[in-house]
Symmetry: C2
Subunit: 220 residues, 2 copies
DNA sequence: GCGTGTGAACTGGTTCACAGCG
DNA sequence: CGCTGTGAACCAGTTCACACGC
């Protein structure tokens, strides 16, 4: 009953964001068809997804945006505010540190870490930054729940372990390395930007080869 | 024969990266088992994936790292150098502009765009930057193949269309909006960082509920 | 015997078809 | 008659089991 499939969770998170946006625009009701267009899947999938978080829909009318958003928030735990930190303050890490949109996920960045003292001194940010060797201690002290890993590949595994040692329960891994935290129960999810770019190129090649004769027409 | 499933393409791109790294370390041969550990899937999947790009393996010995890398590169089109641009030079876009790792995907960032003249003047980067209204023109002139979309959500769709009008064949979309380029044959792939963070939180909640009694032990 | 290659069974997520309410 | 809810059919991708070559 509590086992929502992962693809469904991904879409529900998107729907959650759309609800937030729609509520801001004053929209009160939304249909599965409209959601389907904005998420990029079929309406049936949307209905199944929403079914996973409990009955919200009014048959014949659609979904109450506010209720739907709250229901997803509650079921997926997106309501409770959590603290997070950024490990590795290079180009990407620095950007993440002040990204500003994480509050939409209920996340507040409360600390940054880097192994270079030089970088810690030159960086200009309102977020407190610490040397890498204090990672575990600060994570535990500040009750940080989630770590954003943006270190070089060589430091990925050790940083992940330090995060786990500090007691984080989730890691969003921006390194190209598959990090494994043996023992501790930590959710790890990876975003490999370079790889995504490669995939775009590969799909290009792929589609270019077979779609030269036949385009996939999909009018919405 | 040319239709490699997308999950397989994603993994092949990762394997491609690993080959590059291993070659740098002097490793000449690798087994499907070792690759499986570093990609995070089973060995059978790895073998199927590699099978998709043609016969490379020496039975009983493993795969020649160099040959494997080249074969993937060739089949997936990762060898040919391509130009790309970054649209939107906020925190994230600015970081992408100088990320430095895109060469691993055969990509060179040759231009940046932003609608704010102020930002264009204050940004310090060796990459040439242009006002947003010149997007299509510059993209065509510089033969830019891929666009990295890092604009605010409100500008996502119009920017994507401008990219398509300029003739890009691929878009890596960092906005939370599903952008559709009707008509043109453009590959769009999305990386929604805020959503990924939400998913981590949701999986946390999910796992926390059901795994409190039973951990998933998976020793490697 | 270890490691690749591959056809057959399986799984779970999506698509289809339709029942039911406003 | 439009829209949600849902059980049945479908299908892609993974897992399993095993044949073959070093």
């Amino acid at each position: 009953m509590a086992g929502i499939p992962e693809p469904s969770i991904e879409r529900l998170c998107r729907i959650h964001g759309l609800c937030h946006e729609m509520a801001g625009c004053g929209t009160e009701v939304v249909s599965s068809r409209e959601l389907s267009e904005r998420v990029g899947v079929t309406a049936e999938v949307i209905r199944k997804d929403i079914g996973n978080v409990g009955d919200v829909g009014r048959v014949g009318l659609g979904y109450a945006v506010k209720t739907l958003g709250e229901r997803i928030e509650e079921k997926l735990g997106l309501g409770t505010e959590r603290s997070a930190c950024v490990v590795g303050l290079g180009r990407l890490g620095g950007a993440l540190l002040e990204y500003g949109h994480f509050s939409l996920a209920g996340i507040r960045i409360v600390a940054g870490f880097d192994s270079s003292i030089n970088r810690l001194e030159t960086i200009r940010t309102p977020v407190p930054v610490y040397p890498a060797h204090e990672l575990s201690v600060v994570v535990r002290r500040e009750a940080i729940a989630i770590g954003l890993l943006a270190v070089p590949a060589t430091a990925a595994q050790s940083s992940a372990e330090a995060l786990a040692a500090g007691g984080v329960c989730g890691i969003l891994n921006f390194t190209p390395v598959v990090v494994g935290v043996s023992g501790a129960r930590v959710v790890v999810r990876s975003v490999d930007i370079v790889n995504e770019l490669k995939v775009v190129v590969a799909l290009l090649e792929q589609h270019g080869r077979q779609d030269l004769t036949q385009a996939d027409e999909r009018s919405g």
